[in-house]
């Protein structure tokens, strides 16, 4: 290494402040609506369904005559110019970019009005006449389960025998409602059709996965290289939600093509709440068999997944993302699941922070808490008796995940210590003696990261899979260029939305090239035409710290080898990077024999453990697995049903932390989304399918006064399967906090049938002997 790095600690691992911050703090961020990437763009307003289910006839003639209007795109145009979106399963209900002759949820696009500015477009949108012939709406997913659009059974081990041998069999149904992470910036798309070349260029605050680029291209009937997708440097949060902007990339692309002008569409909040994406709703009957000494020996799930009105890609992925982790953090060897997907007349689902984790762990960890009470064993002790032991790592779960590393018992101990668990129990007993309703909750969850692109093929049988190309792995690309003056530019395909990828990549490259992060420019704006990417690129499944960093480091290592070779050839190990770059660019004749001129590297990296599903339907659904123990104490107001979280402790083992400042930021953010799901957030549709939570006045998100003090602890079991030993950390608390708080409330009010979100009216009803509504 060069003298610069030999004398200093590695940059990776330091709580470096972010390079992203200065521009954002000065109001100089570059979000898509701050830019005009194409000149003379027109502006779109979307006409949306006001009914949950109806046949429609559209008359746009009055809108066409309105001032400033250049044209209107209606369903007939969409059907003529495009194809339905491909999805992981064929539900029999094709989805185009707009409704064609039938609307299936409130907010569904019906037409796009394009005008000189947004004000005029909205004026004209009011003039589009939609004649509705109302149909019955399906809103109850459990009733809809009689006619699922997808059903598969999986069994690992011998569940029936083990269940028959169990001393205690619990059976209870749990429901996780539909909620959405609501980034503060809504969707934004600019589309520019090139009629001569038959190509579409679009800018969007898309977040990946880039599988959805292929879905959009297929819907548009374009070859992959004819759909050029770019993202702006900044994106105002996503948490999964902005993956579904791909549907609007197609819609605005069609509008641009149909009308022959560039089209800009900036989604407003009402549109976002009604028709962007919300998490799936899941109703799960859990059957669990325990021995009297508290060993979980059999586990069976019967899951009904509400994906809304259409199975939109990448669904039914929410149902399969956690498939390898059906047994959670426990050694239970016998696991079975029946998965059913149903359609309801509500907005389609999509990625949402935690993606399948909150749905799985709410059932599993509530079951563990109920079992603890029934068996008379402290919940922490019950967890301890079932946690996968450190010496079993790496551990293959019954359904196929390979848990790469971890000491779960040590994390539990650390959490109990941070919580002062015995004292907390005493406090709760004293509060109860005073007549108050107090309780403690615990959740122990495995946080998977770096999704296997093959897990979605579990939606097919092994025989069906055998007829198609196998899918596996999760690869990322990156490039690093060193210009003739020695300037270093890194390009990423991770489409960040605030996670600080540029800063962490600068740390990684600085360590490898022996310079400082200040020396490095990291560009996170994506361009499918010029940035190295794969079908797996993007920000989701907490894959950045494991896989994207691997690609960046791999590119840096290639350059490092070349730099070292040039230095050796020049006989000067301390030759400055500027001189090396100058030689590579200006004097290729002077390079070592066989070295390419120039000084750039492209690299791809993938973890080695993500095989396609096997013939027994086992799947390593994720590459790395962090572990989380959450403990919280709550107080419930007997008069109002209000839940107050008094103390919240979370212990993470996310392997090696690349930047502890940013890692804690991810934990705090994930926790806040988890708390929101626990206490506040749910989309509510009335009996006709009208969205009752259609504004931020009605869709209640937590603000600063709602957030309890959070104590964060870290242990570190570096991952053996990621490049730098890091694991994902940003999603875990969205999986653990809802059920941890629910366990505490159940403990406080002595009811097993608590449901999310634990709003005051619901808790009050439970306190007053009424079931959940």
């Amino acid at each position: 290494m060069t003298p610069m790095s030999a004398s200093s600690e590695p940059w990776v691992g330091r709580p470096l402040q972010r390079f992203e911050d200065d521009a954002l703090l000065r109001g100089e961020g570059r979000f898509l609506d701050d830019l005009s990437p194409v000149a003379h763009s027109y502006h779109a307003a979307v006409v949306r369904s006001q009914l949950a289910h109806a046949r429609i006839e559209v008359d746009a003639s009055a809108a066409l005559d309105a001032p400033g209007v250049i044209g209107v795109l209606v369903g007939a145009d969409v059907m003529a110019l495009s194809r339905p979106f491909p999805a992981g399963i064929d539900s029999g209900v094709p989805q185009y970019a707009t409704a064609i002759d039938t609307v299936r949820y409130v907010g569904e696009p019906i037409a796009v009005v394009v005008a000189r500015d947004r004000y005029l477009a909205e004026d004209a949108a009011e003039l589009v006449d939609v004649d509705y012939d109302q149909l019955d709406a399906v809103l109850d997913p459990v009733a809809a389960a009689a006619h699922p659009v997808h059903e598969r059974d999986f069994a690992y081990g011998d569940v029936a025998t083990a269940m028959a041998q169990a001393d205690l069999v619990l059976r209870q149904t749990f429901h996780v409602p539909r909620f959405t992470c609501t980034p503060v910036e809504c969707y934004a798309v600019v589309a520019d059709w090139d009629a001569t070349a038959g190509r579409l260029t679009t800018w969007a605050n898309f977040q990946g996965p880039f599988t959805l680029h292929g879905v959009a291209a297929a819907a548009l009937g374009l070859k992959g290289d004819h759909l050029r997708l770019l993202t702006p440097p900044d994106s105002g949060g996503s948490f999964g939600v902005k993956s579904s902007v791909f549907a609007y990339i197609v819609l605005m692309g069609l509008a641009s093509r149909h009308l022959g002008v560039p089209v800009t569409w900036i989604e407003d909040r009402l549109e976002h709440l009604a028709s962007s994406a919300a998490a799936t709703g899941r109703t799960t009957e859990v059957e669990a068999g325990f021995t009297t000494d508290g060993r979980l020996i059999a586990l069976r799930y019967d899951a009904i997944e509400d994906v809304g009105a259409y199975v939109r890609a990448p669904e039914p992925a929410t149902l399969y993302r956690m498939h390898g982790s059906l047994s959670g953090a426990y050694t239970v060897p016998n696991v079975a699941v029946r998965n059913r997907v149903v359609l309801t007349n509500t907005q389609p689902s999509g990625l949402n922070r935690g993606f399948g984790g909150p749905q799985l762990y709410f059932g599993l960890e509530r079951t563990m808490a109920i079992a603890a009470r029934r068996l008379g064993i402290d919940p922490a002790e019950l967890a301890r008796r079932n946690l996968i032991p450190a010496e079993a790592m790496p551990y293959r779960t019954p359904s196929g995940a390979l848990y790469d590393s971890g000491d779960y018992a040590a994390c539990l101990d650390h959490a109990l210590e941070l919580a002062d668990y015995a004292a907390l129990r005493t406090q709760v007993e004293m509060a109860r003696a005073d007549g108050r309703l107090a309780g403690i909750g615990l959740a122990c969850i495995v946080e998977p990261s770096i999704s296997n692109m093959g897990y979605i093929t579990l939606a097919q049988t092994a025989d069906e899979r055998a007829l198609t190309l196998p899918k596996s792995g999760n690869a990322e690309g990156a490039s690093i260029s060193i210009n003739p003056l020695g300037g270093i530019t890194v390009r990423l395909a991770t489409t960040p939305q605030g996670q600080g990828h540029r800063t962490v990549c600068a740390q990684v490259v600085a360590d490898t090239l022996g310079c400082t992060p200040d020396d490095i420019t990291v560009l996170s704006e994506m361009d499918t035409a010029s940035v190295p990417w794969t079908v797996a690129s993007g920000s989701y499944s907490s894959r950045f710290s494991g896989v994207a960093v691997g690609a960046v480091q791999a590119a840096a290592l290639k350059l490092r080898a070349k730099i070292d070779a040039i230095r050796a050839h020049a006989g000067d190990d301390a030759l400055s990077l500027r001189r090396v770059a100058g030689m590579a660019h200006w004097n290729p004749e002077g390079l070592p024999a066989g070295e390419e001129p120039g000084l750039s590297a492209v690299a791809f990296w993938a973890p080695p453990t993500l095989d396609p599903p096997d013939d027994e339907d086992r799947i390593a659904s994720s590459a790395s697995h962090g572990f989380i123990v959450d403990i919280c104490a709550v107080d419930v107001d007997r008069e109002t049903g209000e839940v107050r979280v008094l103390d919240y402790i979370t212990v993470h083992d996310a392997g090696r932390l690349l930047n502890p400042l940013l890692a804690d930021g991810q934990v705090m953010g994930g926790f806040t989304h988890g708390l929101a799901a626990a206490l506040y957030e749910r989309h509510v549709y009335d009996e006709w399918g009208n969205l009752m939570t259609a504004s931020l006045v009605d869709y209640l998100t937590p603000t600063a006064p709602d957030i309890p003090a959070l104590t964060i602890g870290h242990l570190s079991s570096p991952s053996p399967v990621t490049a730098l030993g890091a694991k994902g950390i940003g999603e875990g608390n969205t999986m653990s906090a809802p059920v941890c708080v629910a366990n505490a409330v159940a403990d406080a009010i002595a009811r097993d049938d608590v449901e999310l979100p634990l709003t005051p009216p619901r808790v009050w009803q439970l306190l007053n002997g009424q079931g959940a509504t």
Partner: protein, 160 residues
């Protein structure tokens, strides 16, 4: 069209606007001050908060014609020639922003509060109840504002 004259970030501005033009659209798309963000356009999220004369207001709930004759300050006015303001620097130190979309509104609202009093922890948290952030969990934002408050009161005590 209506002619309005106002001062924005210290500069005099004379523009002809349609009566229905929102202040946010005026600032962003007419004046190019894109630091003021739009998150909900119904006055809840606070991303559009700007300083109007002596108070911070929701830019999305005002029309440009309503600020005729006023002094408007946006996030672009906060940093000095020598870099970030103390509040901005505190945000950076505390990792009080991630995506940064809500940040301009929060900075304006916090500057407004700090200019009027020496707020307690509870007062800062209460003020933030009008600002939506989905990335940070708020705790680092509170810590950053408290640090800026303490720095201000130290400077006052040392007579600066």
């Amino acid at each position: 069209m209506t002619r309005i004259t106002l001062t924005v970030n210290g500069r005099k501005v004379v523009e002809d606007v349609e009566p229905r033009l929102l202040l946010t659209d005026f600032l962003r798309h007419r004046l190019g001050l894109t630091g003021t963000h739009v998150g909900c356009e119904h006055g809840v999220c606070g991303a559009c908060t700007v300083q109007l004369d002596t108070v911070s207001v929701r830019g999305c709930c005002l029309l440009a014609v309503q600020v005729d004759g006023s002094v408007v300050e946006t996030v672009e006015s906060l940093a000095g020639d020598d870099g970030l303001s103390p509040l901005q620097a505190a945000f950076k130190r505390h990792h009080a922003l991630q995506c940064g979309f809500c940040t301009p509104g929060i900075l304006i609202a916090a500057e407004d509060l700090l200019s009027r009093c020496d707020p307690s922890h509870e007062e800062i948290v209460d003020m933030l109840s009008g600002q939506l952030c989905r990335c940070t969990g708020y705790a680092p934002i509170v810590a950053a504002i408290e640090e800026a408050r303490d720095e201000r009161s130290r400077q006052r005590e040392t007579g600066q």
